[in-house]
Symmetry: C2
Subunit: 193 residues, 2 copies
């Protein structure tokens, strides 16, 4: 049990009590316990979504003076904004944006025009494939596009077995406040404006 | 002469040889020498404007986790991009943006619609003033608006007796390469998106 708690804490960075509860519920299955914690995070976030996100933190990451990132993550209280886990989470996001070049925070932020354009490109790529498989291939490639383009859908650079949104929901479960990735910007020297 | 050179270097951060030349030309008058150096900077920039600005540097400034700034300044060579004076200039700009909240890099970047809106506000403010003075007052207030809104027009936070564009032209004169403030962004926690 102690080993399982340790493992679960490493994976989710949730609190000891939350991990114990989740492991009891999953009968000691760590993978299931991760799921349970994530669902709690999601539930917590939606329960708390009505509360105002008026605090938060801005962090930057500069890579060799050539790539620069600014990220804002919102939370409910200044107490959380000054919490080290929260700060590190925001810093990790800034590094993620520098390394993995997302263009949107979440799926819902991708404009309809960009989805249309991407769909057209994909359809041109798969021309000639059997019609029966076509729809499935297009859907698969579109999912891949969202996974690339949206920060929350990307594999987390510090642990590619989870997505950034999993880290976010773990953070919400751990901190006990709603947390929202508000925005980011990424500059690269010399890129076209 | 040595004192004048020292003063001139402090004011413009230009090289010793440039300062000597400028002082010889101005017969030892420091203020005139500053003007000469600035004109050289402007001339150099326009002479070199055709050369490609494909290198540069990105710096950030974070104020207490609540305000974040990213600035990109372009130059011609990576050698200059790694120069300490250049780096410090970019850092100073990031701090300037955090403190003085410009909305545009230069006058030409202010959209016509913003100028129109500002002019209307000013005209409403000065209603009732004698018609003879009206145009002059409006022009004065519009100049004030540009001085507030444009990074290059703002008084430099480290020396409010000069403007940011004067620091830029001094830097161009000193470095001997064209330098362009390409863009900046300023985040403040909780501001409306």
């Amino acid at each position: 049990m102690v080993d399982a708690i340790k493992k679960l804490r490493e994976k989710t960075s949730a609190g000891v009590v939350e991990c114990q509860k989740a492991l009891r519920e999953s009968n000691g299955d760590v993978e299931k316990a991760i799921e349970i914690l994530r669902k709690q995070g999601v539930a917590l976030a939606s329960k708390k979504a009505s509360r105002a996100i008026k605090e938060g933190r801005i962090e930057s990451y500069i890579h060799g003076g050539k790539i620069g990132v600014l990220v804002e993550v919102g939370c409910e209280s200044d107490f959380v904004a000054r919490n080290d886990d929260f700060k590190n989470f925001v810093k990790d996001l800034a590094m993620q944006v520098a390394a993995s070049y997302p263009r949107y925070v979440r799926k819902e932020d991708v404009p309809e025009s960009a989805i249309q354009k991407e769909t057209e490109i994909i359809k041109a790529q798969v021309e000639g494939k059997p019609a029966a498989q076509l729809e499935k291939i297009v859907q698969g490639k579109l999912t891949k596009f969202f996974d690339d383009a949206c920060l929350l859908e990307q594999p987390f650079i510090k642990d590619p077995s989870v997505r950034v949104r999993d880290v976010l929901t773990s953070m919400i479960a751990k901190i006990g406040e709603n947390i929202v990735v508000r925005r980011f910007v990424r500059y690269q020297v010399g890129e076209e404006l």
